[in-house]
C-alpha cells in the first residue's frame, strides 16, 4: 500500500512539489500577505472623533494626519536612529566578521559563532532590562565614570540636546546603545557569510597584481562583502524602525514609530492611523532596497 503510494508519487514529481509547497504558500498568502493587505485597507479608513468608531469608507484623511509636523518628526527621528544604529553595527561587525572568516581557527570560529548567537537564546526583553542596570543613573557606566573621574565628561555629554537626557537610561544615546547591542548579531552573521565566500585566491590575485592590502580591501573585499552588509543592514534597519520596547524603556517622551503605532492602536483605538504609521517603515524599506539595488548590492548574488 505504502509502496504503491511511493511509486504513484515518484512518477508525478510535479504533484509532490505542489503538495510540499501548498502549506507554506497558504501561510504566505493568507497570513503574511493577507495581514499586510488588511493593514493597507485599514489605513484608508478613518476614526470618527465624536463616536470613537472606525468609519469604513475610503479616505486619505488618515494619511494627511501622518504629515502633520509632530508625526513627520517621529518618522525623521526613527529613521535617523535606524541609520545611526545600522552604521554603528557595520563598523563594529565588520572587523569581527573579517577575523572569523579569514583568520580564526576552526575551534575559535565555533567559539565566536556561539558567542555571537548565544544572546539570541535568551529573551530579548530580559536582555534589554539588564541594560537598564548598566545605563541607569546609579548604574555601571556612571559608577565607572566616577571611578576614573570622568563623571564631569558624562554629565556634560548628557546635557547636550538630542543625544542627552537626565541619565543614559533615559536618552537617545541609551536607545542607540541598546539597539546596537541587540541587533549586532544580525549584522555579524551575514557579513561573515559573505566574506567566507570570497576565495583566498582572489585576495592573492589582487596583491599579485600590485595592490596593497588597503587597495585590495577597497577594490575586492569590500565590494564582494557588500551584499552581506546590505543583508545585515536590512535586519538592523527594519528592526530598529519597528521596535517599540527599547524606546519605551529608555526613551523620554519623544515618540518613535513603533511606540506611536502601539499607542494609537492600543490606547486610543485608532487602528487606521496605526496602520498608516506602519506603512511608513514599509515605504522607507522599499526605498532603501531600491537604492541598495542601484548601488549593485545584489549583483554578486
Amino acid at each position: 500500500m505504502l509502496n504503491r503510494l511511493s511509486t504513484f508519487l515518484y512518477l508525478r514529481p510535479k504533484l509532490v512539489l505542489a503538495l510540499l509547497l501548498l502549506p507554506p504558500l497558504i501561510w504566505f498568502l493568507v497570513v503574511y500577505i493577507g495581514s499586510l493587505f488588511t493593514m493597507l485597507v485599514n489605513s484608508f479608513f478613518y476614526l470618527d472623533g465624536f463616536t470613537g468608531q472606525v468609519v469604513r469608507e475610503f479616505t486619505l484623511k488618515t494619511y494627511a494626519k501622518l504629515l502633520i509636523p509632530a508625526n513627520v518628526q517621529i518618522f525623521a527621528r526613527t529613521t535617523s536612529m535606524a541609520v545611526a544604529v545600522t552604521l554603528m553595527s557595520i563598523v563594529l561587525a565588520f572587523p569581527l566578521a573579517y577575523y572569523m572568516a579569514r583568520f580564526a581557527s576552526a575551534r575559535m570560529k565555533t567559539f565566536l559563532y556561539l558567542a555571537v548567537t548565544l544572546p539570541l537564546w535568551s529573551s530579548y526583553v530580559v536582555r534589554v532590562y539588564s541594560w537598564k542596570l548598566i545605563l541607569a543613573q546609579e548604574g555601571i557606566i556612571s559608577w565607572f565614570a566616577r571611578l576614573v573621574h570622568l563623571d564631569g565628561l558624562l554629565n556634560w555629554y548628557l546635557s547636550l540636546p538630542v543625544v542627552g537626557g537626565p541619565s543614559l537610561s533615559v536618552s537617545a544615546t541609551g536607545i542607540f546603545l541598546v539597539f546596537v547591542y541587540i541587533w549586532l548579531p544580525y549584522m555579524i552573521i551575514p557579513i561573515q557569510t559573505a566574506l567566507e565566500r570570497v576565495p583566498k585566491s582572489l585576495i592573492e590575485a589582487s596583491s599579485d597584481l600590485g595592490a596593497t592590502p588597503v587597495q585590495t580591501f577597497r577594490t575586492v573585499i569590500l565590494p564582494l562583502a557588500f551584499p552581506g552588509v546590505i543583508a545585515g543592514s536590512i535586519f538592523t534597519f527594519s528592526l530598529t524602525l519597528g521596535d517599540f520596547i527599547v524606546p519605551s524603556l529608555f526613551g523620554n517622551s519623544s515618540f518613535y514609530i513603533g511606540k506611536a503605532v502601539l499607542t494609537y492602536q492600543g490606547t486610543s483605538g485608532n487602528i487606521p492611523l496605526a496602520a498608516a504609521f506602519t506603512m511608513g517603515p514599509i515605504i522607507i524599506m522599499s526605498i532603501y532596497l531600491l537604492v541598495a539595488r542601484k548601488l549593485g548590492a545584489f549583483d554578486a548574488l
Binding site: P199, S201, L202, E204, A205, S206, S207, D208, L209, G210, A211, T212, Q215, T219, V220, P223, L224, G296, D299, A300
Partner: protein, 351 residues
Amino acid sequence: MSDNTAIEFRDVSRVFSVKHENQSGEVRAVDNVSLQIKDGEFFSLLGPSGSGKTTSLRMIAGFDRPTSGQILLYGQNVSSLPPYARDVNTVFQDYALFPHMTVGENVAYGLMIKKVARAEREKRMDEMLDLVQLPGFAGRKPLQLSGGQRQRVALARALINHPKVLLLDEPLGALDLKLRQQMQVELKSIQQRVGITFIFVTHDQEEALTMSDRIAVFNQGKIEQVGTPAEIYEHPQTPFVAGFVGVSNLVTGPVAKRITNSDRTFSIRPEKIHLAASSAEIDGDMYAADGRVRDVIYLGLYTRYLVELDGGGDLVVVEQNLKTTSMDVMKVKSQNVRLFWKKEHARYVGG
C-alpha cells in the same frame, strides 16, 4: 651566477608545522632546494601532488615565504617582499577572476592599481585581449565565460603589467583534453611572442614535455632532476624520474642480472622494446629476454603488450600499428615471444 638568471633558489626550505589529533610534527614541503631559471625560459616544475612544486611557485609569487634560504629575482633577494612589491604575476589554478568586475576591468586591474590613465589603460587592455584572442569580450562578466575563455582572461590580466616572470599554477588542469592541447600550443607561442620567463607548475608529464625548455622534477620536497625534456625522458637519473616521466619498465635484482649480467637497476622505455617470435636471432648489441604475452591492449595508434618474463617480472611493450590491425595483434596473446632492445636504451638509474 650568470647575468641571465631570472630566478634563483639558494638552499630554500619551507617547513610547515602540522597539528593533527594531538600529534604535532613538521612537513618539509620544500627541502633545501637550489635552482636556477634562465631569462626567457619556459620552465616547468613537474611532480605529483604534495611534491613541493606549488609551494615553490607560491614562494616566488610571495604568497608564502621560505623558512630558510633565499629566492633571488634577477639578482635581487625578494624572499621577504610582499607579493605586491614583486615584479612577478600569476595565473591561478582557479583563474581567480574578480566576479564583480567585467572582463575588461579584470584585465586592466593591474594598471588601475598603478593609476595608469584611463585611455592608456583601455588601449593596453584591448591589446591584451587581442593577444589572448578574446577581442570584444571586455564588457562581459567572468561568469558568462567558458573555462577556456576565463583561462585566457586570467592570462591577459597577468601579462598586462609586463612582469619579469610569469607564474602559472596548473592553469590547464580544469580544461578538457582537446582544449588543453590547443592551449598548450597557444601558451608556448604567447611566451615566445612576449619573451617573458614562464614558470609552469604541472603534474602532467606530457604537458611538461610538450611545452618546456627545461623541467625540474620534484619529489617529496626535493628536486630529482633538472634538464631539457629530451634529457629527462631519455636519461632519467633516478628511478622516480624514470617512473614519473613517461611509462617506464624498471628492472631490478635477479631479473636484471639474467638480462644484463649485472644486478644494477635499469629502466627501459616500452617503445624501445621490440617484439619477435621466440625463435628469433638477436644481434650482439642487443639485450634479449623471453616471456609470454599476458595481455594485449589495442589503442588505435599503437598496441600495448604486457609480457610476463620467464624469470619473473613484467615488461610493458608498445608498438605502433604501422601495418598491423586489431585482428593481427590479438593473435599474439598467450604466445611465447622474445623481447629485445638496444643495449644503449637500457638506462642505469641510481639506487
